[in-house]
Symmetry: C2
């Protein structure tokens, strides 16, 4: 293991140890996952002693949970803010909403931003059954899904309200795939621009939602 030198201290400033540890946790856990980052590596990156994790957080597990708590609430609120901003404008179309929600997320993963990394880590953890997914999925993301469901119904009133949740989940799936596999996208489509991708996504989802809202066209 290569020697980790402190990267979260600021010369000349007495940084808060807890925040330094949380910053280090975000960077390293997102990169390598929980199990492959040792407390020694974390504390070296944060420029403090291994005992600090237990002293301040009660252990590695709890640091991890706190890291998610710190990030995730912010992300959900950010999405809710985006939705409110779009819906407060006059004459808003479904495509406007979809684009407004998708664009920052896709940009985030392309720019390799921390928020994007944390979402990927969260998906991994949900799949790993490492964290209580009810906490994040139902209590926080459920809130976002409910809000999205209401505004989509507003914009496309013909959708069966009993099916709106499934529609929202399919919307989530449409975002999640490029979000998680962006490197793959870039490899197989080297010339794909972010705008092309967003155009596609908006178009596909809007058509899916609108087609869904129409009378059943399937009979053949």
């Amino acid at each position: 293991m290569e020697q980790t030198k402190p990267i979260f201290t600021q010369e000349g400033h007495k940084e808060d140890v807890k925040n330094r540890l949380l910053d280090a946790a975000e960077a390293l856990f997102c990169e390598k996952g929980f199990d492959r980052v040792s407390v020694r590596e974390l504390t070296a990156a944060a420029g403090c002693n291994v005992a600090a994790v237990n002293y301040y957080f009660g252990g590695k597990d709890k640091l991890y949970a706190e890291m998610f708590r710190r990030q995730f609430g912010t992300m959900i609120q950010r999405n809710l803010d985006v939705i409110e901003r779009v819906m407060s404008q006059p004459g808003v179309a479904l495509e406007d909403l979809l684009r407004a929600v998708m664009k920052p997320l896709i940009r985030r993963v392309i720019e390799n931003e921390t928020g994007g990394k944390v979402i990927r880590l969260l998906v991994r953890e949900i799949l790993n059954r490492q964290i209580d997914r009810e906490l994040f999925a139902r209590d926080m993301k459920g809130q976002l899904f409910a809000r999205l469901g209401r505004v989509i119904l507003q914009l496309v009133p013909d959708i069966d309200p009993d099916r709106i949740l499934l529609v929202v989940l399919s919307f989530d799936g449409a975002i999640l795939h490029p979000f998680l596999f962006m490197e793959f996208y870039q490899e197989i489509m080297p010339d794909l621009t972010i705008d092309d991708l967003l155009d596609h996504m908006v178009r596909f989802v809007a058509a899916g939602i609108r087609g869904y809202a129409k009378p059943n066209q399937e009979g053949n």
Copy 2:
């Protein structure tokens, strides 16, 4: 750590040790991930000695790769077979194709089958950057995507061929979401039947594809 007793030996039969280890690997890695399953736990489950992993596979990492190799090729082939079977029937519609591809996959995760578990594990590993994703994504799944693209173009000829790959990827996203988060689906929609879910998925994706194939309806 609870004591793991051998579960992959068959009384009265001299089982192949390699296959027993591979079976144990599938079960345990899918459940807990690579890092949380020790060689001792694996070999206990397989009813053999810890040295066997190195003797037969050259180490834990190589057992892992072999496990994927064993499973993944089968899965891709299975999907290709489904596609050929559907497309060999007369008068096949887009919805028939979509349903035929989706149904076994969704059923697999609901029934908690090994194939479903391995796909989840694969997604986790791609996100973890633990395995060379080119091997699986480009060489194997790329094959499936290319085939899907061709048959979708056959069924919906109006799609811009330059965009077909993105369409296939969105199709994949629509499957992957319920696939990965099926427990969440079941929690928030306890009465959802598999047929309801499939109907929704087919409908959403078919509408997305068909709407996509139409002239741009976005101008407002």
